[in-house]
Symmetry: C3
Subunit: 344 residues, 3 copies
């Protein structure tokens, strides 16, 4: 596939500055692009690479284009424009419709004739697989799961019984959807299992990163709304609800029954305890622990800064004395203030 | 299946308040239950939902039952009673005995005739599978593994050679048992692998959550005692020992050779460094790091509170000055005290 | 296999103290070794076990050997010597060359005749598998992946298209290599996928722990250099580069485009944010968050100490007052200093 710069600009409603007939075949970084490649500039720290870039063209803002030495596609949202152009130049793999001879498909499953099932995949009874959906090699899709049109389950994914996955999902290897939530009741020193009877309900246009786990609900469903984006190794406990257009980075964990709003951005390694409500448009920075509901949009953080270990050791010991220090500070203030009042 | 309230109460040694002939077919939440469903009340924050609940009956404490507008099963432990009633009303799937034609079972394996092996599962030489045990689709059970009666390995689980799994285990998808522990010796700037020659020994009535990993021992075994409950994505390093009836929430990691006592409750995302001993009945709250042995039962915590990022930034910068602040506070106290002594 | 102490000492360029003709068949711990077994002593806390050890021999330093009551192999690096002797006494499993009849190998794949492919493994088109390489049961190796000589992929591993794995790698179950990096562009409140067009390039002598994930690059490759050692459940985001001989413990996560130097030691549960550079020979202690580049070798830490929860609660509340406390401390110092200057 080969496109002129003009064609690419039209594809993203952008504007060409420079040679609009320039032919582009692929994408590359500013640093390594050649004359047949297009790159993008969004992060100001890469601006100095623009001066020496050999790229055929670069997608950038109008401001950056003013002094650009190379052909530009000017866009109000260069990163989104790049995403669309990259998808045009390097389209995702199309799977051939059909069931691999080594897949194990229960005769009661409803498989659209345009769907694709990979080698060794297991499709249990009552499963429904929509138009152009793909279940890749090694996936296990248990009873009565519904997978919507154009959803792709890449490989080695497990979806437990009765879960529902919407359309245009992209689910990466090792993901587990619908394993039992962690429900244990203590009786006389012995843990008794609490049956996990809900399911998982996933909307449309959701992406789920490698080895992420989403547990089934205890009674009602765990819910992932439309256009949620989950990175790798995230843990979503039973009866969590994640609002539409929320993005969560790797290794974050969300405990049971917590509801996260729409358009939130949760960074990596964040912990969110159970039974909380997080408002829409909340951002939480990396490695924070959220222990209470967040009612107001905004950015939240917790944690202590990295230091050379020798200094850190001294400071961390003082952390244990903080309450004592605060009380002593109060006392000193009172002493001084009474001295001042008494005219000393 | 349909039970009268009376039958259900007897099943859990509870007492009916209200219509004991009321017929129950399934469980539901307080909010969504209808007249054929039973719910439970344990968390006081849900008490207001009781007033308007349409449930056929609710399992609750004697105190809550006093003003209950709906039929009640009174129990001293409503959550455990709920667990038993839910299991009665929604019994776990029974697997048909036998080996799926697409499973790969080595002829030297000993498979009980009541055991069940799913599609595409791989059972290597010398494996032993007990009465009514289940190895689900996509599981790989390597040489000489022993799996006890009634244990269920759901799907896509890997158990490495020579590990031993007791009876009535429930192991969720993506779990890896018996991969090599992280043993590396440094010689002249090069890492050399330290062979991991121990195994993993898992007791009875253990539940292991999705994508949890339990490494084999370096020389002796990693040990998980009876009735331990592990949530998803937990990492258990080589030669860890986890005492009976301990429960650990998601994404916690335990480093090598640490011994955890019985009846501990470790919250999510906790880290426990290696070579420690944790006493019985210890609770550790979410996201704490345990760096020393804990000799006394009780609840332990670490970490800093979530704040709006703007305020947090100011406080976190001060963390680096804590030792300095403590010293300055000491100095001020001395100055003031000497002033006071000198009669100023 | 049986070796004399003399033979074992020669194998590790060590020196025998005691009966060099003593026969050794296997390794064991100091505590449980019998007269046919060899153990090692490196951690001083185990020194008291030496006195009562029944071991046939123990690998130790010259200093420890002075008072050793048992036969010794004296080594300058007892742990590395142990690793080599353990590997000699308990050699890793050799896989029989050949393709299991239930594996699915695309005819266009290039499989060395000494390579081994396990039951149910899936090898897609264009894959190349080197001399004595092993792809274990349940692995899915997607299009055009190259796996070098003597690399072992144990079981249930997924390698996405076009990734390159060097020689003598050891990759544990559940690992996912080459899943899409987390690239999402926001446009008008909707996330748009950014195609992930790079690959993963892994050097020689790398070990990767169970359920670790290494994402493919956005444009260029994610790179893991030679002799890197990764523990379980590590998350390596797109375009990360990890320098040779760096070791990383379990559950650590590294965000996109960060470059880690050579010979670093990153402990467990560490988070490293994106677009940083970490120098060679940096150590980061457990559970720290690294938010800025580290330009100097050394040891770095973050976090707060574990305390009984009741005390911790008081201290953690004060954390929110730290900036205020610091300002009040400054003010007190000024007041006292002006008092002193004014002769009060």
């Amino acid at each position: 596939m080969k496109y002129t710069l003009d064609e690419l600009a039209k594809h993203v409603s952008g504007e060409v500055k420079g040679d609009s007939s320039c032919k582009i075949v692929s994408v590359a970084t500013l640093q390594h692009a050649d004359a047949t490649q297009i790159s993008f500039l969004t992060n100001s720290s890469y601006r100095k690479q623009l001066a020496s870039s050999q790229a055929g063209a670069v997608i950038m803002s109008a401001a950056d284009a003013e002094n650009s030495p190379v052909n530009a596609i000017i866009s109000q949202n260069p990163y989104a424009a790049y995403a669309k152009i990259a998808a045009l130049l390097s389209p995702a793999e199309k799977y051939t419709a059909g069931i691999h001879r080594s897949a194990h498909v229960d005769p009661s499953a409803t498989i659209d004739k345009t769907a694709s099932i990979g080698a060794g995949a297991v499709i249990e009874s009552g499963v429904s697989l929509g138009k152009s959906a793909r279940v890749g090699p090694g996936c296990v899709i248990q009873k009565n799961v519904m997978i919507g049109a154009n959803s792709i389950l890449t490989a080695n994914i497990t979806v437990a019984h009765d879960c529902v996955i919407g359309e245009r999902n992209l689910i990466h290897p090792g993901v587990v959807i619908g394993a039992d939530g962690f429900g244990q009741a203590m009786e006389n020193g012995i843990w008794i299992k609490v049956p996990q009877l809900g399911g998982v309900l996933i909307g449309d246009d959701v992406e789920i990163g490698a080895n992420t786990t989403i547990d089934r609900g205890a009674i009602e469903d765990t819910v992932i709304e439309d256009n949620v984006k989950l990175d790798n190794q995230i843990q979503v406990a039973h009866n969590v609800k994640i609002g539409a257009h929320t993005a969560i980075a790797g290794c974050t964990a969300i405990a049971g029954s917590t509801k996260i709003g729409k358009h939130c951005r949760i960074a990596g390694m964040v912990g969110i305890v159970g039974h909380l409500e997080i408002a829409d448009n909340v951002t939480v920075t990396a490695k924070s622990l959220v222990t209470g509901s967040i009612k107001k949009a905004g950015m939240y953080s917790a944690g202590t800064p990295l230091e050379p270990s020798q200094q850190w050791r001294k400071n961390t010991i003082r952390f244990k004395q903080l309450d004592d220090m605060a009380k002593r500070l109060n006392k000193l203030e009172k002493q001084l203030s009474s001295k001042n009042e008494s005219g000393e």
